[in-house]
């Protein structure tokens, strides 16, 4: 019995503290607007999931420091409620349901990855709570006429768009292309968008192969790339697969004129894991930490990147910028609507149009924004922007030399 004796005292103290807390914060600051999200903090994609948790936290802290959100005469602070979905899509659906039905959060932020956003957006639609998500790019998410889902990643179907534009200008231009993609929502959307673009640009698709997500062995595909003498290889997959792909390409001495990957290249730990072997790899990003991207809360994207690095100890990539922009979009919409009523904020979201650290945020009718992808390439230790909206920015290292000639 003894060990319970402290309990009533603790409860009383807590009650007093709560009362004091509420009193000292004053009436104008008494309310929090709670943003809820279920993010991959553990499990196989935790190393990308962390970008979202950290970006949400940084944006919320920054906005609160600046005084919070002013809606009409009242000022609100933002609060975050984040669950770890352990990289399990079924668990994430349950957690979003819990966020809206039991935790009564005001608005939703997204998880990472298209297959998650695809499933989770059914919850926001059902409960009519707007979700702004920066982790799912698949066109499928926005093809269902849902009213409450907004996305800040550029459409998956256009990930290779700028790469194909660049390929047309390469010297000598590649002729044959291998298109390899994993069998999940995002990568299938990438492949479906890329195929017609390649044909329209006059390239021959020598290989068009789908592989299982989490595949570890690419030796058969690589041997075919070599035997068919493919010039350019475009891979839509996950970081783990692409790491294995590059390592196995080296060990089988397979060096096409160029290869490009949908993920990995912009992220620091991908380049660290491959070391020198990451050289020559092309990728794409819709965001670079440039001082030209002005932002109301952070000043600009460069300041956002340094604040992020200072707080969390690693460099943000476009996932993080997209996540921070999601918080800003919700805040902008609440201010425009002058209320936190979910339906009215939803209507305001559909109309927002503002410059942010991530770029211009304005949603199309389907709820997705359209940002151009900049082609990037690993050149030695540097990550170099090669080809943007206005054409060539820097010369690509092309063609890629044989592995033993580096």
């Amino acid at each position: 019995m003894l060990k319970f004796s402290g309990l009533p005292a603790t409860l009383a103290a807590a009650a007093v503290a709560m009362t004091l807390g509420a009193m000292s914060s004053g009436p104008a600051l008494a309310k929090d607007i709670v943003l809820g999200a279920s993010v991959q903090l553990t499990g196989p994609v935790a190393n990308t999931g962390r970008y979202y948790r950290d970006a949400y936290q940084l944006a919320v802290d920054k906005i609160n420091e600046a005084g919070g959100v002013k809606i009409g005469d009242e000022t609100y602070k933002l609060a975050l409620k984040i669950y770890d979905n352990q990289s399990d899509v079924n668990l994430s659906v349950r957690q979003y349901t819990q966020l809206v039905s039991r935790d009564n959060v005001n608005f939703l932020l997204g998880p990472f990855a298209s297959n998650f956003a695809l499933a989770d957006s059914a919850v926001s639609e059902k409960y009519k709570i707007p979700m702004v998500q920066g982790g799912g790019a698949s066109d499928q998410i926005f093809a269902r006429n849902f009213k409450y889902i907004f996305g800040t990643l550029a459409p998956a179907s256009n990930y290779f768009g700028s790469t194909i534009e660049m390929m047309k200008e390469l010297d000598p231009p590649p002729k044959t292309v291998a298109l390899l993609y994993a069998d999940d929502a995002f990568d299938v959307s990438v492949a479906e968008g890329t195929r017609p673009k390649l044909k329209a640009a006059g390239f021959t698709i020598a290989m068009d192969e789908r592989y299982s997500t989490n595949a570890t062995d690419f030796n058969s595909l690589l041997s075919q790339i070599k035997s068919k003498n493919v010039d350019a290889v475009l891979v839509a997959g996950h970081e783990t697969e692409i790491l294995n792909f590059v390592r196995q390409a080296k060990s089988l001495a397979v060096a096409p004129k160029m290869y490009s990957f949908t993920v990995g290249v912009p992220s620091e730990d991908f380049r660290k894991a491959l070391g020198k072997d990451a050289d020559y790899a092309f990728g794409m990003t819709a965001w670079l930490p440039s001082a030209d991207l002005k932002d109301r809360w952070f000043g600009d994207a460069a300041q956002f990147a340094s604040a992020f690095k200072a707080k969390f100890g690693y460099d943000p990539d476009y996932h993080a910028a997209s996540g921070a922009a999601d918080v800003e979009a919700l805040v902008k919409a609440m201010e425009d609507a002058g209320t936190i009523d979910p339906a009215k904020v939803r209507d305001a979201l559909a109309k927002v149009d503002f410059e942010s650290l991530y770029g211009r945020i304005a949603f199309d009718n389907n709820g997705q924004i359209d940002l151009p992808q900049t082609v990037i390439q690993v050149q030695g230790d540097a990550l170099v922007p090669i080809y943007g909206v206005h054409g060539k920015v820097a010369p690509p290292k092309y063609p890629m030399p044989a592995w033993n000639a580096r």
Binding site: T42, G43, D217, F218, N219, S220, S223, W403
Partner: protein, 287 residues
Amino acid sequence: MDLLGQVLINGILLGGLYAMMALGLALVWGVLNIVNLAHGAFIMLGAYVSLYLFTYAHIDPFLGLPITAAVMFAIGYGVQRGILNLIVRAPMFNTLLITFGLEVVLTYLAQLAFSADFRTINPTYAGDSIVLGPVVLPLARLMAFGVAIALTVGMWLFLLHTRLGRAIRATAQNLVAARLYGVEPRHLYAVTFGIGIALAGAAGGLYGTVSQINPYIGAGLTAKSFAISIIGGLDNPLGVIVGGLFLGILESLTALYIGPTYADVASFGVLVLVLIVRPTGLLGKAA
């Protein structure tokens, strides 16, 4: 034809690595009758041990394999004495539950300790290859293959010809008789499990030199090791070589001729077929 030759070589080298991965699982399963669902997690731990030896002590991953194996043996011995010994004669279901729990614990501890970042063990020669006419032999895979075959054959000779090996087999065959001859089963079980985990650790070291590692690779590796053990049979360590090579070649050819998405369908399809037609494995004694 060159392509077929290259893909066959790829399959054989992959098969060697598969055999190495499955060896420890088959040993523990055959002797202790424990299907160790945490086997892949131990492979993952072994990969991290090798990674840290390589990164911080600059020990070559192949030369460091004995150290990795020794560390993992100690962990395995401790886990068996402290945890698994409690359920070694319990129904199969209990051993499945406890090893599954162990897998989850090890995976999440690994994430806390090593973070979810992807790592590679990347010695300078990791991407080198030997060109033999039209085919290319990746050096690291070839070395991993050599180590895998040597360890598997070594394991076979050890079980056949050494006193400890005979004691291990005797305990598996008839516990009462083995005790009458002076075998101390608690120690022997722990040694066997330790050897199984040491082999898993060595497999992890090899895996890290040819693939990427992260805390979550374990479950998939357990599934693969399980399939190889079934296909090869548990009676004989050479079974895992047969099972590993069979699976490696099958997956490579499937990826070439049918499509990469069907590689897993083929390997687990064969698993089901073997269970129906030859439940004791390709090398197993007729039931």
